[in-house]
């Protein structure tokens, strides 16, 4: 019996501990709040309440909340597992004292929240006031607000709250609650700005202090206050640019509407005075400049800029300008601005610095030394857009806010103003925010590329496309294998690539960089030259000079080494004296005149050249000579060898084989023209001369003098100018044994007497040592002349 009871207690203890482990007693709900909303013209009979549960809630031990509402004899309740509930009373219990609480209960217990014991109006939230209207009155600084109650005053006494703001502004101005505590349906706003659109809103709640909840704000009611005469001056400013002519400025005057325009500006009046107090307009009257502003323009916060007038002002003149602004209610006080002579502009501010910071441009400057600055004008310009603001004289730091654009370059200037007279500006350029350029520079080749270098030029990126300060350019070029980069300063627009390969195609492009990035331009291709400029000319000239040098050297070699060449190219001619022609005389008896005949017979070849170049002094005898020469000597065509016949031709016969001349001597015929009257004296012979032709059967080659008559002529001409074209006689002593020196001397004497004007070619000596050189010619000639006269002696035929 006892053990059974103990067991029962144990089971109960286990169950209890298990239940405790799975859940807790509910906590006391907190922050109970209820609300009854307006429906149509009544307060809704649905009262919604919410609370914050406290304590752990589990699914095993769910907590149920019961919301109770009690007043007088009525009692309502509703249960839920949520944290909110709604009780529907048949009608809203206006003016009844309600007692509301919530009870949380689960298997482990129950607990009630604090009881809300309040008048029913405590829980009411009405609709916002209806039909809110704003009515302008005759006063430019006030507006009347009317509205209707959202619910009858028998239902609920209401208090109101009013707020208003200028259109476009974000901050509301609240009317103090004490001014609207009474159950009113209208209110007059005062101390407003004239000609300004105001937005107003109204809300309401239970008039009992601390009761009810504020309704939502009503819909906005908007209206504009009436106009008033402008109570501030227009903001007058100018743009000064270079004039069309020298020493002249172009000044454009412009102004902003007065800060307190108090209405829609309909007109500006301007008066411009020069230094002689003469009005530029032609009279002292004000010039009217009507403006057409819309209501939107006049109501916007952005003050309109109006360009008033443009004048041309000489550098040495100043001008004073007065401008007033007018609206429908009146005219403002005049604004004043004076442009001094260009040379008399007062000192600018110093150390102007501009830097962007959090969406605005901060400016700092030091005031000029001149302390009479009355104010500063901060001007910022980009493209054709201009704006400005004024700062008082004590300002040295300001910010440009608002309508600045990113990636746009602004030229910011600070003008000191000296009692209306503008001073010199200090200007800097600045970006609100920099970015990478939108496009790269366009690179092109300047001129033609060289073999190893090419000059590139590029255009600067347009200002609108830069989006920042160009820090540097990077020039890239590649021939297909490796990309080379060259960094050049931002102020550079050309660069010469060097060390390029010849006859190679290069691609090049340029990166323009800002602090925020860079942008490449388009590729430009070019091909370097195969030869550098002038290289071809150099080669041609060099080759030509080389060729000329070779030619000259060859000629010099020929001239100075002719003997060597002769010996190399033409073999030694055998002594003609050994020729059989010495013993050969077909018609003429040689024995009777042996010495002479011998002497003549020693001449194997006689060349009598034409006397074309005979001296004029000899021309008188030319006919005779001609006759004789032509009739006697030119007719020596026997054997194809004569004076007219080319000796070279004869030689050429033998040239066909130099060596062959030696070996085939038997096949070469030599002819000898033996003139009986070889010498044609100045006294013509009355008797016809008989020519003697004798043909040599010798097979020996001809003498050099026959082969190179030209050379002989040249040499002869060098030796004696007096005998440029004397007939040449090539003489070879036929019989040395038979020759008598005495006779020879005698003959020489006679030759000197008779043949003085004649020229005789130097006789070729048999021995090689007798070959003269230029140096030797002087020494050589006398000896040679001795032998060269010999044939003449032999050839003389007394007439």
């Amino acid at each position: 019996m006892v053990s059974a009871r103990v067991l029962q207690l144990l089971v109960l203890a286990c169950l209890g501990s298990a239940l405790l482990a799975r859940g807790d007693r509910p906590g006391k709900p907190e922050n109970l709040s209820c609300i009854a909303l307006q429906r149509q013209t009544f307060i809704s009979s649905n009262i919604s309440c919410s609370w914050v549960p406290v304590g752990r809630q589990t699914t095993d031990v769910p907590t149920t909340y019961t919301l109770f509402l009690v007043y007088t004899d009525a009692s309502y309740n509703v249960s839920t597992h949520e944290n909110s509930a709604q009780i529907n009373t048949n009608v809203f219990p206006n003016f009844m004292e309600l007692e509301i609480w919530v009870e949380a209960h689960n298997k482990l217990g129950a607990i009630e929240s604090e009881h809300l014991k309040k008048d029913a109006g405590y829980f009411v939230k009405t609709n916002p006031p209806a039909d809110v209207k704003v009515i302008p009155e005759n006063f430019p600084t006030s507006l009347l607000i009317n509205w209707n109650r959202p619910i009858s005053k028998q239902n609920l006494g209401l208090t109101y709250q009013i707020r208003f703001r200028p259109n476009g502004s974000q901050s509301w101005t609240y009317v103090p609650l004490v001014d609207t505590a009474r159950d009113i349906l209208s209110f007059r706003l005062q101390n407003l700005k004239p000609h300004t659109v105001y937005v107003t809103q109204v809300r309401c709640k239970n008039a009992k202090e601390g009761y009810g909840q504020w309704s939502e704000w009503s819909t906005s009611a908007t209206n504009r206050t009436p106009e008033k005469r402008p109570t501030s001056k227009p903001d007058l400013w100018k743009i000064v640019a270079e004039g069309d002519s020298i020493n002249e400025r172009r000044v454009r005057f412009m102004c902003k509407d007065p800060v307190s325009a108090n209405g829609r500006i309909i007109r500006f009046d301007i008066k411009i005075q020069n230094q002689k107090d003469k009005v530029k307009n032609g009279s002292l009257d004000w010039e009217r400049i009507p403006v057409n502003r819309s209501e939107a323009d006049s109501s916007s916060n952005q003050r309109e800029i109006t360009f008033l007038k443009e004048i041309h002002l000489a550098d040495k003149k100043f001008v004073k300008v007065y401008v007033t602004a007018s609206n429908s209610m009146g005219k403002s006080a005049p604004a004043f601005l004076a442009i001094p002579e260009k040379t008399h502009e007062l000192a600018p501010v110093e150390e102007l610095r501009v830097f962007p910071e959090r969406g605005q441009l901060l400016l700092e400057w030091k005031p000029p030394n001149n302390t009479s600055v009355s104010e500063y004008v901060v001007e910022w310009v980009t493209g054709d857009k201009i704006d400005w603001k004024r700062e008082n004289r004590s300002t040295s730091r300001t910010a440009i806010r608002g309508n600045l654009e990113k990636f746009v370059c602004y030229t910011i200037s600070v003008y000191p103003i000296y009692s209306g007279w503008t001073g010199k500006p200090a200007s800097v350029e600045a970006f609100l925010e920099q970015g990478a350029p939108l496009e790269g520079p366009i690179v092109r080749l300047k001129g033609k590329p060289g073999r190893n270098e090419a000059e590139l030029v590029w255009t600067e990126i347009p200002q609108q496309r830069r989006r920042g300060f160009i820090t540097h350019y990077t020039l890239f070029y590649t021939s297909g294998t490796e990309v080379h980069a060259v960094r050049v300063p931002a102020n550079t627009t050309s660069y010469t690539l060097k060390s390029l390969s010849g006859n190679t195609k290069y691609d090049t492009w340029i990166n323009a960089s800002t602090i925020q990035g860079s942008k490449s331009g388009f590729n430009h291709s070019f091909t370097t030259l195969k030869y550098a400029p002038g290289e071809i000319e150099f080669i041609v000239v060099g080759v030509s000079l080389g060729f000329l040098f070779v030619v000259v050297m060859t000629m010099l070699l020929c001239l100075y080494k002719k003997d060597v060449l002769k010996r190399n190219f033409w073999p030694q001619i055998p002594n003609p004296g050994e020729s059989t022609i010495g013993n050969w005389s077909p018609d003429y008896p040689l024995k009777s005149e042996t010495p002479k005949e011998n002497c003549l017979s020693g001449i194997s070849v006689l060349n009598v050249c034409d006397g074309k170049s005979v001296f004029e002094e000899d021309k008188t005898s030319l006919p005779l000579k001609k006759d004789k020469y032509l009739s006697e000597e030119h007719s020596s065509g026997i054997g194809g060898s004569s004076c007219m016949s080319s000796p070279r031709q004869s030689v050429s016969d033998s040239d066909e084989g130099g060596d062959m001349a030696d070996t085939t001597a038997s096949t070469v015929q030599y002819s000898s023209v033996v003139a009986s009257n070889g010498y044609k004296g100045q006294t013509p012979s009355s008797q016809p001369q008989q020519a003697i032709f004798s043909r040599s059967e010798s097979t020996q080659p001809l003498l050099d003098s026959e082969e190179n008559p030209d050379m002989l002529v040249q040499e002869g001409s060098k030796q004696s100018h007096r005998f440029p074209q004397q007939p040449c006689f090539t003489h070879t002593v036929g019989n040395e044994d038979g020759s008598n020196p005495a006779d020879f001397n005698q003959l020489e004497m006679e030759r000197h007497e008779v043949l003085e004007p004649m020229h005789f070619c130097p006789l070729e000596e048999d021995s090689e040592q007798t070959t003269p050189t230029d140096d030797q010619s002087a020494d050589w000639l006398p000896a040679a002349q001795v032998s060269s006269y010999m044939p003449q002696l032999g050839g003389y035929r007394p007439q």
Binding site: P93, N94, F95
Partner: protein, 226 residues
């Protein structure tokens, strides 16, 4: 000497007792004044609630009659000019404030069955979403709340008097009526009820000046006595 000493002790005791009695009297008067002030405030609050709700129900009854006339078709103006029997008297009876308050309470109770009958009749005549039915419901509901407030007010003013009960037994409702009679009946009931509420509102103003002010005067008198 002993007698003289005893006499002195007695005098000292009497002085102390007098002081204590005076203090107790002041305390008692002060507590009485506080209780009276509280009761006076309670009177004002209760009366204010009752007056506010009376004005609300009156205003609703005015609107209700307009809606009723608008919803009854032609000759609606004539309906309200016809006299109907067994409609509670809109006048408040009694000489004393307590009697008049009781009269208000009993009249309110007397009107409830009639308002209910009108609601039932108009339920048959109007659409369920009719504004008239909604307004009738509001007037009926607020009237019940008003009766509860009057009762509370009465009890707060006259806690020792018995709770008023409707006099004359249960309210006599009209027999079954045709539509026209229903319309006439409804209009007369609402019109009479509106008059009654107007009288109640006026009566409450009078009571405010009579009852709550008199309580204030009583309190002032008590203060002067102390």
């Amino acid at each position: 000497m002993n007698g003289h000493v005893k006499s002195m002790h007695f005098q000292q005791f009497m002085e102390l007792a007098t002081t204590l009695l005076s203090f107790l009297l002041v305390m008692a008067v002060d507590s009485t004044r506080t209780a009276a002030a509280s009761r006076n405030q309670q009177c004002g609050n209760s009366l204010q609630r009752t007056s506010n709700l009376t004005r609300l129900v009156h205003k609703e009854s005015v609107d209700l009659i307009k809606t009723y006339k608008a919803s009854q078709g032609e000759m609606s103006e004539l309906f309200c000019k016809v006299s109907v029997n067994n409609i509670p008297d809109p006048n408040i009876s009694g000489m004393e404030p307590s009697e008049r308050i009781v009269s208000i309470y009993t009249h309110l109770q007397a009107f409830f069955p009639h308002l209910k009958r009108v609601y039932e009749q108009q339920t048959d005549l109007q659409l369920p979403t009719s504004q008239l039915l909604t307004q009738l419901n509001h007037v009926s509901g607020h009237s019940k709340n008003l009766a509860a407030l009057v009762k509370i007010f009465y009890q707060s003013l006259f806690p020792n008097l018995p709770v008023p009960v409707p006099a004359g037994g249960p309210t006599t409702l009209p027999p079954p009526q045709n539509v026209f009679q229903q319309k006439v009946y409804g209009c007369v009931v609402l019109k009479t009820y509106k008059e009654f509420l107007s009288n109640v509102s006026q009566e409450l103003k009078t009571l405010r000046s009579q009852v709550c002010r008199r309580r204030k005067q009583i309190n002032t008198l008590l203060l002067r006595m102390t």
